[in-house]
């Protein structure tokens, strides 16, 4: 893989170490960012493969392949965990964050380059732990952990007596520490290493988005770590934090989990917000509309995101006044979200728009995120959520914001910075094919799932009554289209690295104004030896 990196074969005398030292001991933010991107892609293939097999299973009522139903649950759980912790987060934060935060703020590197190396290398270790869990006993004689990505006890304690889940706990702890180190690194870098003249209020929105994300990581992940440790002790050391027979409470886990889990969804979407802002501004050839409002909308989304967690728990038997509180707090988030959407539209308004590939992804992002957002408003109301909770309506909702929101943000950034990162340009026709197949495919997968959910189909079901056949077939057909789109993506990638059309320094022209466009493509191994001055 690494040989695909255009500069790896270069003999330029710019201080690049030899292959092994360069990639395994790496402390260079761009190299680490590149590794995060490849790693995210690999995990995306694994997580996507799992989801594709689930969709094939669900293509018809009855059991197609998963004669051991537990294995289906394992696939659901691992798909969720891998997509979140090993695909979206590494790609957006580790990948684009590492690459472009230092470049955009005019810093030579991250504040703690060695910690950056540790952050990255914890992830493959974590992924290996997770993958190993597939092959060791989980529940009874059945291999793997099938308790959902939310890992609720008692199913994750007494319900899974085998070691599979212990491996997952350790893997997630490793991934969590990786993110915490990364967060510390980003916060320190952004607060201390901005180029002279770059005040916080002049900082590009992507850096803002990563800053807010890093704070969310720093505050939310320790809570997940604590909850995981408690599970580990309940399983292996005879404690009873979540065991009612010992005076514990399984619901306490849910509170801890979602105190992490809700900020987690913003961790996945905020960096995408940042990317979209730059892309929309670049291809409208206009500065971002309402810059300060955009930055502080992200800050307020981050803050309010910490006090809404129990909207995932409306059916646990919560006090009704508490439900009312969580409904109100959740709906409040619609306001800063609205500000973001309208500011993107206003950035395009009056612009001179070109529909380049990154812009297509950005436009699709806005459109799909609005759909995912409004169904979030529906789910925020406990009086309605009572029928929709744990149905396919929820699956549709969160895939609209994740599988389409976060992932479209990733592809948007990938095409936007492709030439900058790799020094070569992609083939536009192949990129168009990728975009359209993907856009149509994911909508076909997930839009029908709203109807399934309204009609009552529960999630995490390996088999369903014939009454749910039609939309499941449609959804599985969509998965085939998406698969074709993914194939187009890899063909695009291979073609670009074979043909090697060189990328100019600023191939998007006057609309692209941030500092990375002042550097060659790819940027030198060490940049900004003299710091840029921002007027």
């Amino acid at each position: 893989m690494a040989s695909l990196y255009p500069a790896a074969d270069g003999h330029h005398d710019d201080g690049k170490p030899a292959f092994f030292r360069r990639w395994f001991y790496s402390t260079n933010h761009k190299d680490i960012g590149t590794m995060y991107l490849w790693f995210g892609m690999l995990s995306g293939l694994i997580g996507g493969g799992l989801s594709f097999m689930m969709r094939l299973e669900l293509g018809e009522p009855g059991i197609q392949f998963f004669t051991n139903y537990h294995t289906y649950n394992v696939f659901v759980s691992m798909h969720g965990l891998i997509m979140i912790f090993f695909m979206v987060m590494p790609a957006l934060i580790g990948g684009f964050g590492n690459w472009f935060v230092p470049l955009m703020i005019g810093a030579p590197d991250m504040a703690f380059p060695r910690m950056n190396n540790l952050s990255f290398w914890l992830l493959p270790v974590a992924l290996v732990l997770l993958m190993t869990s597939f092959f060791v006993p989980g529940a009874g004689a059945d291999n793997g952990f099938g308790g959902g990505w939310v890992m609720y006890p008692p199913l994750s304690t007494t319900g899974h007596s085998g070691p599979a889940f212990d491996l997952i706990i350790m893997g997630l702890l490793a991934a969590g520490f990786s993110s915490i180190f990364g967060a510390i690194n980003f916060i320190t870098t952004i607060l201390n290493m901005r180029a002279p003249g770059m005040t916080m209020h002049k900082m590009p929105l992507f850096a803002w988005s990563v800053l807010v994300t890093a704070f969310l990581l720093l505050l939310a992940l320790p809570v997940l770590a604590a909850a995981l440790f408690m599970l580990f002790f309940d399983r292996n050391a005879g404690t009873g934090f979540f065991n009612p027979a010992m005076g514990g409470d399984p619901e306490m886990f849910q509170h801890l989990f979602w105190f992490f889990g809700h900020p987690e969804v913003y961790i996945m979407i905020l960096p995408a917000f940042g990317i979209i802002s730059h892309v929309v501004s670049t291809f409208s050839r206009k500065p971002i509309f309402g810059y300060l409002g955009m930055a502080y909308a992200m800050v307020s989304i981050g803050v309010v995101g910490f006090v809404v967690w129990a909207h995932h728990m409306y059916t646990v038997g919560m006090d009704v006044d508490l439900k009312l509180y969580f409904m109100v707090a959740t709906l409040v988030i619609a306001v800063p979200t609205g500000i973001k959407i309208f500011s993107w539209l206003a950035t395009m308004w009056g612009g001179s728009i070109t529909f380049a590939i990154p812009m297509l992804w950005a436009i699709a992002f806005i459109f799909l995120f609005v759909i995912g957002g409004v169904t979030g408003v529906v789910l925020a109301m406990p009086a309605v959520d009572v029928v929709l909770h744990d149905t396919y309506y929820v699956v549709a909702h969160f895939h609209y914001v994740l599988s389409m929101g976060a992932v479209f943000g990733i592809f948007c950034g990938f095409y936007y910075w492709f030439g900058k990162i790799f020094g070569v340009m992609y083939n536009k026709v192949l990129a168009h094919i990728h975009f359209w197949l993907f856009f149509i495919g994911v909508n076909l997968i997930f839009f029908p799932q709203h109807f399934l959910g309204l009609n009552g189909m529960p999630r995490r079901y390996v088999d369903y009554p014939v009454e749910f056949t039609f939309f499941n077939q449609l959804s599985t057909f969509g998965a085939l289209v998406t698969l074709a789109g993914t194939a187009a993506f890899f063909i695009m990638l291979i073609e670009a690295f074979i043909i090697r059309r060189p990328a100019e320094d600023n191939y998007w022209g006057e609309g692209a104004t941030t500092l990375e466009w002042t550097l060659p493509s790819p940027p030198p191994y060490h940049q900004f030896n003299t710091l840029p001055r921002i007027k």
């Binding site: 399984p250 038997g317 609205g338 995490r460 088999d463």
Partner: protein, 292 residues
């Protein structure tokens, strides 16, 4: 010139709105076809069988209109922008990056929508969640992978309800994966309190057409309620992942007229002597005659 663009944008949003709204109503009709059960190809909620489900449906209808309008507005605006401000139509971009009035408006408008939503969603929540004076109680215990139903007001008898196997479902013409071998039976027009707990892991007791979903948690007793006017058979499914056979522990509730219910209780629990039938609906149930 300009006006025609605005017109195009508006027309597009109107179209989207009609399409989405029309779609939801087409679904509404097909969902009405059968009570208490999903319908293939249906686009909307199952028919409501309880007052709370009726209210939920009303709330969902209203919210559906609001969110459809929001999506249509954004889509319409985007369409307009792409027609009016693409590179050909508008070669020289403006440099505007502020408009205080606009920013205030698009902050205030969502605030107004949110306040509206809070206003309309609060009462249904309390109507649903605050349990009224009920007339009888059924206790539900979730197990891996079946349900135990207990009737504390009728001599505390209990039985276990499991998936009706596929062959039997076919033979009896009942819906596989929805039908149970033994249904939970309750009288019509009676306010029923349901106590829900679990014996092993989490489960969730769910009945879409009743607007009922409440987690079954070991070591904790959750409460919910419903009242159904129409006798009939209603189906739900376990709604919290509970291990290997999570998809195979359906919930079937038979709502029967009062006298049939008493007869059913007696087949279940011969010792239980019903209070003398006064034909006055509620007075038949033990809770109303001082039980509980």
């Amino acid at each position: 010139m300009r006006a025609s663009f605005i017109f195009k944008g508006l027309a597009l949003s109107a179209l989207t709105a009609t399409a989405l709204f029309g779609a939801s109503h087409f679904g509404l009709d097909s969902a009405l076809a059968e009570a208490g059960k999903p319908t293939d190809g249906a686009l909307y909620l199952q028919e409501a069988a309880t007052p709370t489900a009726t209210e939920l449906r009303w709330l969902h209808d209203v919210v559906m209109i609001i969110i459809t309008a929001i999506v249509a507005l954004v889509t319409g605006l985007m369409a307009f922008i792409f027609i009016r401000f693409n590179k050909k139509a508008n070669p020289v971009p403006s440099r505007t990056s502020h408009n205080t009035l606009l920013e205030v408006v698009w902050t205030a408008a969502p605030v107004a929508i949110v306040l509206t939503l809070i206003a309309i969603a609060t009462q249904p929540l309390y109507n649903q969640d605050v349990i009224p004076e009920t007339e009888m109680t059924v206790k539900v215990v979730g197990n891996q992978w079946n349900w135990t139903y207990v009737y504390p007001d009728h001599g505390d008898f209990d039985f276990t309800s499991s998936l009706l196997p596929e062959e039997d479902a076919k033979a009896q013409g009942r819906p596989y994966l929805l039908a149970a071998d033994e249904a939970m039976v309750v009288p019509a027009k009676t306010k029923i309190r349901v106590l829900v707990t679990a014996s092993d892991v989490l489960h969730s007791f769910a009945m879409p057409s009743f607007a009922v979903k409440i987690d079954a948690v070991p070591g904790r007793i959750n409460e919910t309620w419903f009242v159904v006017d129409e006798p009939g058979t209603y189906y739900g499914q376990c709604s919290e992942i509970c291990g290997r056979e999570h998809a195979f522990m359906p919930i079937e509730i038979k709502v029967v007229p009062q006298n049939e219910f008493v007869a059913w209780v007696q087949t279940r629990n011969p010792e239980y002597a019903a209070a003398p039938a006064t034909q006055q609906d509620a007075s038949l149930t033990p809770a109303a005659t001082g039980g509980n």
